[in-house]
């Protein structure tokens, strides 16, 4: 068990040093990984810890990104816009989740799916607000205490540190009595309820907090790519985000980190495979569900048990 913290420290340092040996595009991908990691951690809270299926996480990423882009184009600061994006997503999450969670549990999956398609239509069609398919370009990167974060390495470190801070928040949330109620609820809802856990309130909050994480990620995403259009927020993006969480290991703290790396970085190394990569990926997901439903991070446990 002592090995854990050392390995984690080494991994953190290794990722921090990685940009030194990478070209601009590599640094960009690494930053993108951090962004999806933030969103993925939020989704993990909803899916892995609270046991709810959400198939509309990209819609929240989109709401965050468009909020940030539109307001920053109006001259507002990133530091004001980013928390605002989180707040908006949190409330939209509450409004969507409240009626959906009253009914059975796969209905949240259906409702989020419909919500995602609707938001995508909105992003694409409301040209006066979102620029439609032309998108919004020329989004400024934020500054920090007078320092410019325009360079790709500087922005990477900014996003990296933010992702770590967000991870610490999540860590604290899960360790708190409040977070432990989530796990109780996922493992045995009836027992949790009889112990006085208000299932509805807890799942709703888990869903809304997950959405808020995606909102924050959206703001970072907008400032990273500096040009947003509807495509990254469609239904397949949501499905990919869900797979990120599941492939790594849902309900495991480090699941989204591995999952996001597999979904974002691996296709770049395997670029020579072109479309065949996604064929392999899809079928690998099926195989994973059959043999290793706990995700890749459950391999060590599985080995220990046999």
């Amino acid at each position: 068990m002592k090995l854990g913290p050392i390995a984690l420290g080494l991994a953190l340092v290794a990722i921090a040093l990685a940009p030194l040996g990478l070209k601009n595009y590599g640094v960009y991908l690494l930053t993108l990984w951090c962004v999806y990691l933030m969103a993925g951690m939020g989704l993990n809270l909803t899916v892995g810890y609270a046991g709810q299926m959400s198939i509309g996480h990209a819609a929240f990423l989109g709401i965050g990104a468009y909020t940030a882009a539109i307001l920053m184009k109006m001259g507002l600061s990133f530091w004001f816009v980013m928390p605002l994006a989180a707040l908006i997503c949190f409330f939209v999450g509450l409004v969507l989740g409240f009626p959906a969670l009253r009914v059975q549990h796969h209905y949240l999956a259906f409702a989020t799916l419909g919500f995602n398609v609707l938001m995508y239509l909105f992003f694409r069609n409301e040209e006066w607000l979102t620029g439609g398919t032309f998108g919004i370009s020329g989004i400024q990167r934020p500054g920090l205490l007078g320092l410019s974060l325009d360079g790709s390495a500087a922005y990477f470190y900014f996003t990296y540190v933010s992702a770590i801070l967000l991870a610490l928040v999540l860590w604290w949330l899960i360790r708190s009595p409040w977070g432990r109620a989530f796990a109780a609820l996922r493992d045995n809802p009836i027992r949790a309820e009889s112990l006085g856990v208000n299932i509805m309130a807890y799942t709703l909050l888990a869903f809304a907090i997950g959405a808020a994480f995606a909102g924050i990620a959206g703001a970072y995403f907008a400032a990273l790519v500096q040009f947003i259009e509807p495509a990254p927020f469609n239904l397949s993006a949501s499905l990919m985000m869900l797979l990120m969480v599941i492939v790594g290991g849902s309900g495991r703290f480090f699941g989204p980190m591995l999952g996001a790396a597999i979904v974002i970085l691996l296709p770049e190394w395997l670029r020579f495979m072109k479309d065949w990569y996604l064929v392999m990926f899809g079928l690998a997901v099926v195989a994973l569900m059959i043999w290793l439903p706990g995700g890749l991070l459950s391999i060590p446990e599985r080995l220990r048990r046999t």
């Binding site: 959906a100 398609v117 239509l121 239904l235 996604l278 064929v279 997901v285």
Partner: protein, 291 residues
């Protein structure tokens, strides 16, 4: 008025096709608790199997017969044995994820292995226009509507009037009681998977001439079938038909009268409203799930 009727009629025709895919979707759910997120790809794959057969010079009827057999083997038997059976005991979520993976895999298999562009597909009905009073409809719309309606009717009679059909319903309603009554539950569930595969093949035959055969055609069809199934009632066979027609008609009317950009919008809103306020669907009965 003529325009309106015309839009309703062609909407009903396309809606009846959605209903076929939605019907397979609800049947799978009822019989085995499978939510198949690859249903759209289950329609896309037969379309390409037909194209490949045609490419070998087969006439269309023979090509379609081969397609039916192939989809029963692949999307029926193989899907059930290789994916559903090992996963179903873990609950709904792993199976949903696996069908998502399957959908990505199948889509890209066709994209990488066949073609990434749209391919024309032979039309089994002529596209000549027929005038019915003020309404002008294409023979294709009427043909699709009649054929889809006949299939739904035949399936409904099969489920309600034959011994096998009733046994299949019994399995869906109460697996244990069905077993006690001496029904071969496994075989009945297999029949459902075969019916779903056949429905998918027929949907492909009817929908592909308008949609064109493309690797991602399943995205739209799968989504529409999904809306239709939920709107009509997830646990009701008749519901799929109502849902499909509603989605098709609403789509047409929205596109023509409100905004082409939000063609899907109204059906989608109806879908969300149904989920949030009447989750058992318009025709469904409130569901008591077995634990």
């Amino acid at each position: 008025m003529g325009d309106f009727l015309q839009l309703v009629l062609s909407g009903t025709a396309i809606g009846a096709i959605y209903a076929l895919a939605a019907l397979g979707f609800t049947l799978l759910w009822q019989a085995s608790g499978t939510i198949n997120f690859a249903q759209g790809e289950f329609v896309m794959l037969p379309a390409f199997i037909t194209l490949i057969c045609l490419g070998y010079g087969m006439p269309l009827p023979l090509a379609f017969a081969v397609t039916c057999l192939a989809s029963m083997a692949l999307l029926g038997v193989a899907f059930k044995k290789a994916i559903v059976e090992p996963l179903i005991r873990h609950g709904v979520i792993p199976l949903v994820i696996a069908t998502l993976g399957l959908s990505i895999g199948l889509k890209n298999l066709v994209k990488a292995g066949y073609s990434a562009g749209p391919n024309p597909f032979p039309n089994i009905f002529p596209s000549t226009l027929i005038s019915l009073g003020p309404v002008r409809v294409s023979a294709y719309d009427i043909g699709a509507l009649v054929l889809a309606g006949l299939i739904v009717f035949a399936l409904q009679s099969f489920l309600n009037r034959t011994l096998t059909g009733r046994a299949m319903q019994a399995c869906a309603q109460n697996t244990e009681a069905a077993t006690v009554l001496g029904i071969n539950v496994k075989r009945m569930v297999l029949y459902v998977f075969l019916i779903n595969a056949l429905l998918a093949a027929v949907t492909a035959l009817l929908v592909t001439p308008t949609y064109l055969a493309k690797f991602d055609m399943g995205d739209t069809i799968g989504l529409k079938a999904f809306y239709a199934a939920i709107i009509g009632g997830f646990n009701q066979t008749r519901g799929a038909l109502l849902g499909g027609v509603l989605v098709g008609v609403l789509e047409n009317l929205t596109g023509a009268y409100l905004s082409p950009a939000y063609k899907e919008g109204v059906a989608l809103m109806l879908f969300l409203v149904v989920i949030l306020f009447k989750p058992e669907g318009l025709l469904g009965k409130a569901e008591e799930r077995k634990v």
